[in-house]
Amino acid sequence: MSQERKKRWVMVVDPDKCIDCKACDVACKRENKIDAGTDRQVYRNWITSKGVEGTFPHLKQRFEPSQCQHCDNPPCVKVCPTSASYQTPEGLVAIDYKRCIVCATCILACPYDARFKSPQTKVIDKCTFCAHRIAQGKLPACVDTCPTKVRVFGDLNDPDSEVSRLLARHHYYVLKPEKGTKPSLFYLS
């Protein structure tokens, strides 16, 4: 009888497992029909190389995959004049493409460089957490494809979800916490 609890979709990322294979980038582009062509600035997710850590012989190369953080306090939504950028009750930050006027203010407001103009739709685009797949009960394409299971996706409001359990057991951090955006991507440390 109880009403279904509101969900809060988040992603937990274990950067130590990332091998920079870029399967997530490829899967994302395929799933979301993004054709970058020759434009190297067209992508929804990316891998940052954090360089080599440690001292010889205990060296370690670190990578940090990232994308739109689906911020709980998203500056991109605040600045959008036509409400094209909006937040769903489940914590996704989405774009209603037909309302986007390409003023690009959201690109500048986002501290993570998560947004770009799509060569296909000619409006602003970014990671949607594969909202269309979530609706079918599937995982985002990047999560599904990652060979080393760097990415874990789930409902933070469900205490039994894998994301909730991971965050309860591990130390974690978020990117640029000082910007006050309250990201929904959590990195295990």
């Binding site: 004049p81 003023c103 690109i107 770009f116 103009k117």
Partner: protein
């Protein structure tokens, strides 16, 4: 062979012809740029993911700052009742309308879907967005100053005054919201904060003084200037000098607070201007031509010499054009992620306007001149004798 006329008025001098020719050439260049944009879309511009705002945004700002500035200075007369300034009212408001329209034209070529903006600004407004307020308030402002101009033409001082006040309020509000478009962005430390909304108003007033001096220098290039106009212009050039002094002081504190603590984002951006890739534009144009030279020229002549004041105004306007460019571009050149492809060896992003962008900027200037020439032909922009 002088048979060229506009609205029945003969184009009767070499000077007029030179202006028309310049205007025509600029408009033509603009049309070529526009055509290229319509064919290629944003690919014709050098803006990209990390630097999405280019010279068209800064030129838009240049124009709308001019408009607000003209409105501010003209309101000294018919809104705030300083009688002396009333003589410049009509010409100033006409130019305020023209520069605003030119600004709108330029930004329409930058925003992807300007008409969609008109629709969704009304259907699904976001009241938290500075862009929404800026657009809406500038729209209102345009209506007010158009009406104000109409009442001025009809010599209805009472209503011109009321609408002047409405225009003043809407103009200042719109313009400070334009500052807030930048000031609200926490992601961009060099822009963020209350400085820009305030600075925009001050620099608008500076621009307003400069443009009025230029308009009257051209108006009376071949005729003797009436005394009451030259007296007003002397007051304006003194006001101009004082405002330039204050602007220099604003600028100095912006520089000092940006570099003082070495705060990430702010510091690197300021250094782009002080000693980085845009230092020529900052020192040469923004500081020297935009502020220092005109300030010195005006102080040295006590503002009394209108020839010198005209040169000061011209120098300042050129500098201010670059000042807007510096503001818009520099704020984007510090990358948010240091490992993106576009970041150069210096650790910074870069941007140089494309030919199409430059052509559209020149076209905007052409449009502004064209509208002004037409306004002079269709309306009497000189003060009424009463």
């Amino acid at each position: 062979m002088n048979t060229l006329t506009i609205n029945g008025k003969l184009i009767n001098s070499r000077g007029d012809l030179a202006w028309l020719l310049t205007t025509g050439v600029l408009c033509l260049i603009g049309l070529v740029g526009l055509a290229n944009y319509l064919i290629q879309g944003h690919d014709a511009y050098n803006i990209y993911r990390q630097v999405p705002w280019g010279i068209l945004i800064s030129t838009y700002i240049f124009f709308v700052v001019s408009s607000t500035g003209l409105c501010l200075v003209s309101s000294l007369g018919h809104v705030f009742g300083i009688k002396q300034f009333e003589v410049i009212g009509k010409r100033a408001i006409a130019m305020a309308i023209i520069t605003l329209l030119s600004g709108f034209a330029v930004i329409a070529a930058e925003i992807g879907y300007p008409f969609r903006m008109l629709i969704y600004n009304i259907l699904t407004p976001n009241l938290a967005a500075a862009i929404w307020w800026m657009g809406t308030l500038y729209g209102l402002y345009l209506v007010f100053i158009l009406l104000e101009f109409r009442f001025m033409i009809k010599v209805n001082h009472k209503w011109a005054g009321y609408l002047g006040l409405a225009g003043f309020i809407a103009g200042v509000a719109a313009h400070s919201n334009l500052g807030a478009v930048f000031g609200y962005l926490d992601a961009r430390p060099w822009w963020h904060g209350p400085f820009l909304p305030i600075y925009f108003i001050l620099s608008a007033a500076v621009t307003g003084c400069a443009i009025i001096l230029l308009l009257y220098a051209v108006r009376y290039a071949r005729e003797e200037m009436p005394v009451r106009i030259s007296e007003t212009l002397v007051s304006i050039s003194r006001l101009f000098a004082m405002l330039l002094g204050i602007l220099l002081f604003f600028e100095a504190w912006k520089v000092l607070t940006s570099v003082y603590g070495g705060a990430p984002g702010k510091y690197e951006a300021m250094m782009i201007l002080l000693s980085g890739p845009l230092s020529w534009s900052f020192w040469g144009f923004e500081i020297l031509l935009g502020m220092l030279l005109p300030f010195i020229l005006l102080l040295a002549t006590g503002g009394r010499n209108l020839k010198v004041a005209t040169w000061a105004a011209l120098s300042s306007m050129i500098g201010i054009f670059f000042m807007r460019y510096n503001l818009v571009v520099t704020g984007q050149l510090v990358p948010l992620r240091s490992d993106v492809d576009a970041v150069g060896a210096s650790g910074l992003l870069s941007y140089t306007p494309s030919l199409t962008e430059i052509a559209i900027v020149l076209g905007g200037m052409g449009l502004c001149l064209l509208l002004y020439i037409l306004a002079g032909r269709f309306f009497n922009l000189d003060a009424d004798n009463h």
